[in-house]
Symmetry: D3
Subunit: 133 residues, 6 copies
């Protein structure tokens, strides 16, 4: 294993309870894909200095919401954000902030995906100190 | 409730048997999102003069088909179009018209979503007066 | 020339002052592409019964705005809509209607493309009978 | 039936065990859509000279992976590639090649779709002669 | 002018030297569009509590990079980030973080757009304390 | 320089007359981005066994055409395909094959980008042995 791989694996482990969710589904078909996830996406990119991990997670969530058709990855990274200590309301706020760029349909679907993660962890309802207009 | 909210709610109610489908799924996580749906998407935009509601629905269906990954919203607005009196064949025709721009895969998937709405209402087969080549 | 081709060419000619804008740019590299435009996009799809040509144009504009990166085609079809007698304000209204789905950035860019077509025809400012809030 | 239709149907039959997967789902709602699939997508485009059918399949897989939200079509064409004799590892390799353009989330989801097709045919694990870094 | 409009205008003014860049281009064709930008995108969304303005800008940049075809908006919001005191290197870091999701082509083009903003302000070269491998 | 970097650089040099087109535009803003292009996109992915370089180029072209808003990258890779000995007609054929998935507008724009590369090399008109219907 390269240094990049080990560094990426450590980053995944800080994010997820278990990195099996990334490695197992492709182990018998494209093991190199999860190797690249560890080496490049996490080992090269995620561990760069210059941005705090919680902010990185929110940037990821913004980008995934804009892509629109990547629900499993969105759920993985929302769980990762929670594991890093990001407040549920901050994750929701991130999606509401992006609403103007992403549009309503993809935002509604992204919120639905986030809700599944929150529900599984007993985090609903999300405390909301926001004005109700 | 603002005037915009009430105006939007009335627009939703003309479209859907029940606006709960929009409000309930986000009530415990992002109530502001459904408020924006009512105030902005429906209260500001949908109720503008200059286009008839049935035409607005077909424009929505064209845009959602092009986005491609927003099946729940497509089904909601197809049901809305039927509720406004749009003929099933006109909805199908809208998707066929957009085929050249949207491509076959997304169009086939959009037709599949529309078919689910039609099937639930007993509207199949769609009467087709079109030439068969 | 097939019937489909001639039927499509006639449809293009009703839409555009001149179909050279479609045929010339690809004549020395992919003439079959413009043949398919004529035969399939216009001969098969555009000339189907069930939707009026002006409405077809607005559906096209909605789909192209949602795609987002097809400015030349958007301008071609906006010009086509004007040639079919669609009011400038109705074209703008179509883009504003789709704003909730398409998002602000792509809508702003689509309006900018439409503005170029209107400016070249001396159609600015667009008469606006809409409420200003 | 036109020549284009018959030519397209023959192309589909070389690709799929059964063309019912294309025709049946839209038979009672948009039969013209499957007619266009046969006539245009397969009769006009797929049967053109200049590219071998296995390469055409891989190009299709690359394009569908980039579109990202067209899982049923991706699975259909992966099955088609296998039916044409393409090696499972070559299909995986195609997705890995496109990773830099398509991004990780859509690639991971595409590999997941491909895996379902391979699993149903008992093709797992995919023999992998590739270096492990 | 509504409170929402004034609140949005103030938010735009904190971001941009001059809000004319938003209002002027659509003034003679779709003034309601810039009103919605001010009222909704900035007045409703941007001014919500729960995220600091510099972080909001970086989320916007992530979402716009993922959309891919919205260069003018990306440049506007990069300039806005600088005006809010975000370090140039942090903006670049945001795009590099999103590379795994957005892919190389759109990231390279986004960096090119950012570079134009930086060049116009004499901010090149970007100080880079990052490891060089 | 790592082995991955050198291997990637060699791959770029086989593709392009000069790798400066990749490195220079980001040298003063995001040098790590071009490092990742060399190390990951080319060093890791492009040099994998299992697909011939000319086929890799055509897969790239298919994916980029589907992404739709990445004209500079499309032109770079079309030039690369020519440098690898791919026939101009095969490149055009690749885009026509993807037309059913990508749709007409993005295909027409992709062909326009390809045409610019061909024109700069004096490769027009493209010899076309294809049937004209």
């Amino acid at each position: 294993m390269s240094d990049r791989f080990e560094r990426g694996l450590a980053a995944i482990d800080r994010l997820a309870a278990d990195h099996a969710a990334i490695f197992d589904p492709v182990a018998d078909i494209a093991p190199d894909l999860s190797r690249y996830v560890a080496e490049f996406a996490f080992g090269d990119l995620y561990t760069r200095p210059g941005l705090e991990p919680p902010h990185r997670q929110l940037l990821t969530i913004a980008a995934l919401a804009a892509l629109g058709d990547v629900r499993p990855q969105l759920k993985f990274h929302v769980a990762g954000a929670l594991n890093l200590g990001v407040e549920p309301a901050t994750i929701v706020e991130t999606l509401l902030h992006c609403l103007a760029y992403v549009g309503f349909p993809r935002t509604v679907n992204a919120v639905g995906a986030v809700r599944e993660v929150f529900a599984a962890r007993g985090l609903l309802p999300v405390g909301d100190q926001r004005p109700t207009a």
